[in-house]
């Protein structure tokens, strides 16, 4: 799970609307019934996340539907191609969904099979929030590339390690189908390194950038 920069660049109408709600202390309309900015939020999130699931880093869409041309006058131009994007808008802290359902900092695009079935409405801890100011995967995590599992960094205190471990489970970072996809990724990557066919540029915009960074560091490759 890499750090995500959530500056809103294109869905500016949504941004203004949200700022207005905050400035005037207005209630958010119900997330479940109010759908006006759904696509603006969804595709701006996907853009921030480079088309990957915020937590597990599996691919949710191609990046070509996330470029500036897909927005007109601050709104996302929803076309047929955009239906190809999978994933759900996820409320990081489920307790905020009811009253602040459209709060930008609480929203992420997440794999469908992680959002409800795995994370659900479990309690969360900001120690593993991908857009938090102090979040850095290398500070919080280690990656065992043989067992294909994220574990808490040994540099954290035992209490922090417990909190991180709990969140690794909540966010599904090691979950079955994710591990499965990551397994092929790691295997291919290691084979390429071993056979001297690894090309960094082939991995731009690809899934699992955090696992990639950990493995490259493990192999002392810049």
């Amino acid at each position: 799970m890499r750090k995500i920069d959530k500056s809103i660049l294109f869905s500016t109408v949504y941004k203004t609307w949200l700022e207005d709600l905050k400035a005037n202390n207005k209630l958010h309309p119900s997330y479940d019934t109010y759908r006006k900015y759904y696509n603006d939020v969804k595709f701006e999130l996907l853009r921030c996340q480079l088309g990957l699931c915020a937590y597990t880093e599996i691919e949710l869409c191609e990046e070509d539907i996330l470029t500036a041309e897909n927005w007109t006058n601050g709104r996302y131009d929803f076309d047929k191609e955009a239906t190809q994007a999978s994933g759900h808008i996820e409320h990081f802290d489920p307790k905020l969904k009811l009253k602040k359902g459209w709060l930008w900092t609480n929203l992420f695009m997440v794999d469908n099979h992680i959002n409800t079935p795995v994370k659900g409405t479990q309690e969360v801890d900001d120690i593993m929030k991908p857009d938090a100011d102090d979040y850095d995967p290398k500070d919080r995590l280690e990656f065992d590339s043989e067992l294909n599992k994220y574990i808490p960094s040994a540099n954290k205190t035992p209490e922090e390690q417990e909190r991180i471990k709990k969140m690794v489970k909540v966010l599904g970072l090691n979950y079955g189908h994710i591990s499965r996809k990551r397994k092929s990724f790691i295997k291919t990557l290691k084979e390429r390194i071993e056979t001297d066919t690894f090309k960094p540029e082939a991995y731009e915009g690809e899934p699992f950038p955090t696992a990639l960074a950990f493995i490259l560091s493990e192999k002392n490759i810049d």
Partner: protein, 466 residues
């Protein structure tokens, strides 16, 4: 006359399902109908519906008179209910020019359809619940007389032809192979629901008995000959008889040779100690256990019943052409038996097109990817076939190869399982990674203890790595 394609339009969960059932380009048999097909998919995706539609399709086709109700101009066949449409292939077009009915067409070519529905009452395999003989089994079809009329009482017994006196050297070893008598009725569809297997057994028994009667004549001659010969010549006759048996196995011997390799895996065999002179009185197959116990069908396990329930009709029909449709083919069978099942069925009826529906990844792993039809709900809630190839339908373009996959991969790639194990295993793998890290970092006296913990957990996790 095998199925080459199926097109189901606006029926139940199918909106417009087109199934190509031929070998893809690049295959030695490209364009020819698949010899075996495996339908998989979640509950409710319509596996059983497709199997039943195929049966109904053939049922309606065989009931149709020539040309009438067939829309051949458009190159498709529509059944009476317009529920299933089969694209024309060379042989179906036969109806356009022939004067014979569909039913006669199929039967004249020895084409059979065996349909094994899901969930028959297998307890009815044994004789206590035996159905009436002489039934017309095909529903709604032409009133077809079955082979079972008359039953056993009309069959001459082994004693009706007493051996000629004075014959001493009847055992020259000449080959008199027992010919399996073809099923003489014009029955086309065998719906293997309750009791049907028992009827097939009776006909098979009747066929076998012909060769047994023949053998008994030789046995009687043998006995007579022994009575007249000096002791030194008995050995010669004995070995002559053995040679005769080797070259002229009776129908029951052949059946045993076919079935026993399979039964032996379960420490069973076809009961070899039967009274040949009362062969026609054997109500149903008897098995013999390794400990010598003779097991009639009510004492069989459900797995053995399931095997016999499918194998017996296949053996019965073995030389014929046609279709075998088996729903839930893996039912009650242990994984190791499932592994070999498709091979067993294929061996039993090499000339038939086999169509299975299953929930078993082990069974699915016996198929080439082009033989697998994976059904999936689309976003509209309609059922589609999940493609296993990208681009052109060519053997080189298939990205899933069931035979190459481990069981867990089969579950995940073809059976929609999201996880490769219980989630507890994933949690424990994480614990293992933490232990491994701590073990690496430790230089202290806890190292040995950590190592023991690590190795114990690793063993429990089957030493999982990538």
């Amino acid at each position: 006359m095998f199925l080459k394609s199926i097109h189901i339009k606006n029926y139940n969960q199918f909106e417009n399902l087109e199934l190509d059932l031929t070998y893809p380009k690049g295959h030695a048999k490209a364009g020819e109908p698949l010899e075996k097909i495996c339908i998989i998919g979640d509950n409710g995706t319509g596996k059983t519906t497709i199997l039943e539609l195929i049966k109904e399709y053939y049922n309606s086709v065989t009931n149709l008179k020539p040309i009438r109700a067939l829309n051949l101009d458009s190159g498709v066949l529509v059944d009476a209910n317009k529920r299933i449409i089969k694209k024309e292939d060379g042989e179906v077009a036969f109806y356009n020019t022939s004067n014979i009915s569909g039913h006669d067409y199929f039967t004249s070519r020895g084409f059979k359809l065996l349909f094994f529905p899901t969930g028959p009452d297998l307890s009815k395999l044994h004789a206590q619940s035996s159905p009436q003989t002489g039934n017309t089994i095909r529903k709604g079809g032409v009133n077809t007389q079955t082979a079972f009329q008359g039953g056993i009482s009309n069959t001459p017994t082994a004693f009706s032809n007493p051996p000629s006196p004075g014959v001493t050297t009847a055992y020259g070893g000449g080959k008199k192979s027992w010919q399996s008598k073809a099923y003489q009725t014009d029955k086309f569809i065998y719906d293997l629901s309750d009791g049907e297997v028992l009827l097939l057994w009776r006909d098979l028994r009747k066929q076998m008995n012909t060769s047994i009667i023949e053998e008994l004549k030789h046995r009687d001659n043998f006995n007579t000959a022994i009575g007249e010969l000096s002791e030194t010549k008995i050995d010669k006759i004995h070995s002559d008889f053995k040679a005769y048996k080797r070259e002229n196995p009776n129908g029951y011997d052949e059946f045993a040779a076919f079935l026993n390799p399979l039964l032996n895996k379960f420490h069973l065999e076809l009961n070899p100690d039967i009274n040949l002179r009362k062969f026609n009185e054997i109500e149903f197959i008897e098995l013999k256990a390794k400990d010598g116990a003779v097991l009639s069908s009510e004492k069989w396990s459900t797995g053995i019943r399931q095997l016999i329930y499918t194998i017996l009709p296949l053996y019965y029909i073995k030389s014929e052409k046609g279709l075998v449709i088996i729903d839930e083919a893996e039912r009650s069978l242990y994984p190791n038996t499932q592994r070999n099942l498709i091979g067993i069925y294929k061996k039993a009826c090499p000339n038939m097109q086999l169509i299975f529906a299953t929930h078993s990844p082990i069974l699915a792993s016996s198929f080439e990817p082009w033989e697998v039809i994976e059904l999936k709900f689309n976003e509209k809630g309609k059922v589609e076939r999940k493609p296993y190839f990208k681009g052109e339908n060519h053997v080189d373009n298939y990205h899933i190869r069931p035979m190459y996959l481990q069981w867990d991969s089969l579950f995940m790639k073809m059976f929609g399982l999201e996880n490769d194990s219980n989630e507890v295993r994933n949690d424990m793998l994480m614990e293992l990674a933490i232990l491994k890290r701590d073990l690496k970092n430790s230089n202290g006296k806890d190292k040995k203890e950590l190592q023991e913990k690590y190795e114990k957990l690793a063993e429990q996790l089957d030493w999982a790595t990538l």
